[in-house]
Symmetry: C2
Subunit: 453 residues, 2 copies
C-alpha cells in the first residue's frame, strides 16, 4: 500500500515522476477511482452537486484569502501575458470565486461538492505529498444549524460506506464562536482570541507539560491560566456541563452553547451521534473559520486527523463576493487510503484494474475474423470481451483467458461454421455448453441458458 | 452549449477564472462527467486499464520528446529545489516514462487509457482552450496489425455509444510507412520525406490551388509534382488501387500496402468498416508517428478533426526506455461536446447536475427529528433523500419538492406517531399511499407496494 504514498525508486532511468508526486499505475488508479467513486456517490445521495474549476488560478486570489505568506507554498508562474498564476493548493478560493460570480442567480442553499487535484510546494513527508486529491463538501448561503449537522452527516455517511465504525473514528466537534464568547465572558479581549485559538488547538499535538507551558505564555496571571486550561480541557458531555457553568448569565455564550447542544442533538437524530464528541481541543488552524469546527481522527494506531472543516462567515467577501455564510469540509485520498490500508479495509475491487467478462478463442485461425466480429458486438452491448492478438493453439488461448482472470471463455469452432453456435466454458468449473450465437448475444449473462431463453 | 467553451463575462467581479480556462458549474460538470464516464466505460469494455501521472513533469521530459520549441507552449516554473517543471500539455511523454520505468515487469500488450487534464499556453480560440480534458487510448509493446485495428475500433465504439453514425463521422486511415516506402520507390530520398509529409498533410486544409502551389515548391520537376499530386489525392478503394500500380515490384511498398489492406479488412470484420476510409490526406503533424495514422472528421457542418492517432515506433527510446512500438489516439472534451451540442445529440442526463429521489416533509415541526432520522437512513441505503432546512407549512415543502424535481414526497405526519407509517406521494400524478416505515425502508422503490412486499 505504500506505493500509494511513495513511488518506488527506479535506477538508471532517464526520467522519473517529479519529487512528491505519484504515478498511478493501473492498480493505484483503481484505488483512486474506488475512493473517488464512493465520494461522488455519497455526495450525490446527500443532495450535493459536483463542480470544478481550473487547475490554476490568479495568484492574487490565493493572496486575497491567505495573505502574501501563501506564495512560497504554491507552484506559481507567469503566462505569456504576464499574469501571475498558481496551481490550486486548495479548492475553497475557487468555490468562493465561482459562487461570488453567480451569487444572485444560484438558488440557496448551495450544496456543492468537488474532487479536485491539488498541489502544494511543501516538503514531501509521510501522509503529505506535493500532489493529492481532495473531497470537498460545502453548504453555502445558509447559517442554519441543520446545515452544520448535514455537513457532518455527509462525512460520517462516507465513513460508514467504507466500513469505518465509531471504534475506528471519532468526529470531534467544537465551535469557535462559542470559544470566542466564553473568552469574552471571562474577560479576554477580542484581539487576544486568535492567539489563544492557536494555543488551544495544540492541546493534542503537544505533551501535557508542553501544552501547560504554552498556555502560561499567553496568560497574564494564574487565574487566566486556570481558566484557559479548564476551557481547553473541556470535552464530552461533562466538558459541556462545565462550560454551562462558565457561560451562565452571559447571553451570547449561552446562545452559542445552545446551538452546539442543538447540533449534537441533530446528529443523534440523524443516527450518527455515536461518532461525534464535543471537544474544545479542536480549533483548526485556518483563520477563516467563524463558527462550528470539526475534525475526524483515527483511533488506535492511526491517531491522525482524517477530515476537517467548519463554518466560514466571511469567505466570499474576501474574493469580492456578497456576505454569505457557509460550512464545509475536506479530506484527501492519501490520508483515507493510508488509513484503510493500515486497517486492512481495502476491498479487492479497490486494486482491480481490469475486468474481463469473456475471453474469445478461435479453434482455428481461419475463424479469427468471426472472433473479432463477435468481440466487437459483445463490447458494443457492454461486455468486456478480450481475445489474443496472436493466433495460437486453443490450449494456449485458454491459458491466456485464465491468466487475465476472465470468468468464461467463448470458443468459436466448427459448430460456428456448421450451425452458428459457440461453446461457452466456465473457467472455474471447466463446464462447457454450446449455444446459438443469437441466443448468446441476446442474453450473454444467462449461463447455463435454459431452453426458455 | 457555448458555456462549455467560453465562460460568460462577469462584470465588476474582483476575480475571474484565468484566460482560456473554464469554470465547471454543476450543469457543465454534469456534461464533463457524462462524457468522461462514457470514455471510461468504452475503454474498460475494450480491455483497457486506466492510469494517470502527475499534473506536472520535469520540463526536460517534454524537451526530450518534442525539442526546445515546445517550451513556449507550456506553463512552466521552478520548484524550491530549482527543478524546472511544466504542467502537462499531453499525456504521451508521461505514458512513455511510466512504461519505460517498468518495461520489464508489465505484461504485454499494455492496453492503457487515461482521462488527463491538460494545459497549453496557447492563445485561446474556438475549440482550443488553455485547459481541457483528453481521452487517451494506447496499445504498447506489440506491432501487430490487429492492435492497429483494435485501437481504431475503440474510437468507433465510442462514436456509436454517443450516437454518431457513419453519416456524422468518417475515420480517415493512412500509413506513414506506406507513404514513405512509396516515396522511396518513386526515387524521393529519405531526408526529403518529412517535408513532403507536412505538405501532403495540408491537402484538406488549403484550397486546391494553394495545395498545388505548395506541392510545386517541394518538387524538383514536373514529374515529381505529378507523382506527389497523384499520391496526395489517393483516397478510398480507387485510391488504394492506384497506389497498387505505383508500388508494383517494390517489396517494401507492397508489404506496407498489404498491411493497410489487412487493417481495413479487420475493421470490416469488426463491423466498423462503414466508418473507415483510406485517405492519403491524413499524415498528422506529430513527427513521432511511424506507421498507421488516422483521424476522425465530422461531416456536414462540423468538418473538423475530432480524434486522431497513430503508431509510434521509437517513442519510449526518446525518454530512455527500451525499443517498443505502440499505437494510440486522443480526443478532447471540448471538441466532442461541441460536436454533440451542434448536432443536438446531448441527452438530458448530460446536463442534469442533481438527482433527488425523495423529498421528506414534516406535517408538523415537532416531527422534523423523524424526518432527519429517515433521511439519513434512506441516504445510507443509496437514495438521494432531501428535506427543507426551514420549518414551514406542508404546502410550501411540497412546492420545494417539486422545484427540485423529486419524483416522490414522503410525508411524516400523525400516522407516524400513531402507527409508525408515512405517506408517500407521487409528485407527477398526485396519488398518495400510506405505508409502514419498515416496509418502506425495506423496499423504497416498490411503489405502490402490494400487500406481499
Amino acid at each position: 500500500m505504500n506505493r500509494l504514498i511513495h513511488r518506488p525508486k527506479v535506477k538508471n532511468m532517464k526520467f522519473q515522476a517529479p519529487k512528491g508526486t505519484r504515478d498511478f499505475y493501473p492498480e493505484d488508479m483503481a484505488a483512486r477511482n474506488w475512493i473517488m467513486e464512493i465520494w461522488r456517490r455519497v455526495s450525490l445521495r446527500n443532495g450535493f452537486e459536483e463542480y470544478d474549476g481550473p487547475i490554476f488560478e490568479l495568484l492574487d486570489l490565493y493572496k486575497a484569502k491567505s495573505g502574501e505568506g501563501i506564495v512560497s507554498e504554491l507552484f506559481h508562474f507567469e503566462d505569456r501575458g504576464g499574469r501571475e498564476l498558481a496551481i490550486r493548493p486548495e479548492m475553497t478560493p475557487t468555490l468562493a470565486r465561482m459562487i461570488a460570480a453567480r451569487a444572485n442567480s444560484l438558488s440557496r442553499p448551495i450544496k456543492w461538492f468537488s474532487l479536485p487535484r491539488l498541489c502544494r510546494a511543501e516538503r514531501p513527508q509521510r501522509g503529505r505529498l506535493r500532489e493529492f486529491f481532495q473531497w470537498n463538501i460545502d453548504v453555502v448561503g445558509i447559517d442554519d444549524v441543520v446545515s452544520d449537522a448535514e455537513c457532518i452527516l455527509v462525512a460520517i455517511d462516507f465513513f460508514r460506506e467504507v466500513g469505518l465504525t465509531p471504534d475506528d473514528v471519532v468526529m470531534k466537534v467544537n465551535s469557535r464562536s462559542l470559544l470566542s464568547s466564553l473568552l469574552a465572558a471571562q474577560g479576554f479581549e477580542k484581539q487576544r482570541h486568535e492567539e489563544i485559538f492557536a494555543v488551544l488547538d495544540k492541546r493534542d499535538k503537544l505533551s501535557w507539560e508542553a501544552f501547560v507551558e504554552t498556555v502560561e505564555k499567553v496568560s497574564r496571571d494564574g487565574e487566566e491560566k486556570t481558566t484557559l486550561l479548564s476551557i481547553g480541557q473541556a470535552a464530552g458531555p461533562e466538558g459541556l456541563a462545565g462550560l454551562t457553568e462558565m457561560a451562565k448569565e452571559n447571553a451570547a455564550a449561552e446562545a452559542e452553547l445552545d446551538r452546539l447542544r442543538q447540533l449534537l442533538a441533530l446528529l443523534t437524530s440523524m443516527g450518527v451521534g455515536e461518532y461525534c464528541r464535543f471537544d474544545m481541543g479542536v480549533v483548526r488552524g485556518l483563520a477563516y473559520y467563524t463558527g462550528v469546527v470539526f475534525e475526524a481522527f483515527g483511533k488506535g494506531e492511526f491517531q491522525r486527523a482524517i477530515c476537517g472543516g467548519g463554518r466560514y462567515g466571511r469567505l466570499l467577501e474576501a474574493v469580492g463576493g456578497p456576505p454569505m455564510s457557509g460550512i464545509g469540509f475536506g479530506t484527501s485520498d492519501v490520508v483515507i487510503l493510508t488509513l484503510l490500508a493500515e486497517l486492512n479495509r481495502l476491498p479487492a475491487e479497490a486494486t482491480k484494474a481490469r475486468r474481463v467478462d469473456l475471453f474469445l478463442i478461435d479453434a482455428d485461425p481461419s475463424l479469427f475474423d468471426e472472433v473479432l466480429a463477435l468481440a466487437a458486438r459483445l463490447r458494443r452491448i457492454g461486455l468486456a470481451a478480450e481475445f489474443s492478438y496472436r493466433r495460437q493453439a486453443l490450449g494456449k488461448q485458454l491459458k491466456q483467458a485464465s491468466a487475465c482472470s476472465a470468468s468464461r471463455a467463448v470458443i468459436v469452432g466448427s459448430e460456428y461454421t456448421q450451425r452458428q453456435a459457440v461453446s461457452v466454458k466456465d473457467l472455474a468449473s471447466g463446464e462447457q455448453v454450446e449455444i446459438g450465437v443469437d441466443r448468446f448475444l441476446a442474453n450473454p449473462h444467462g449461463w447455463p441458458w435454459s431452453d426458455s431463453d
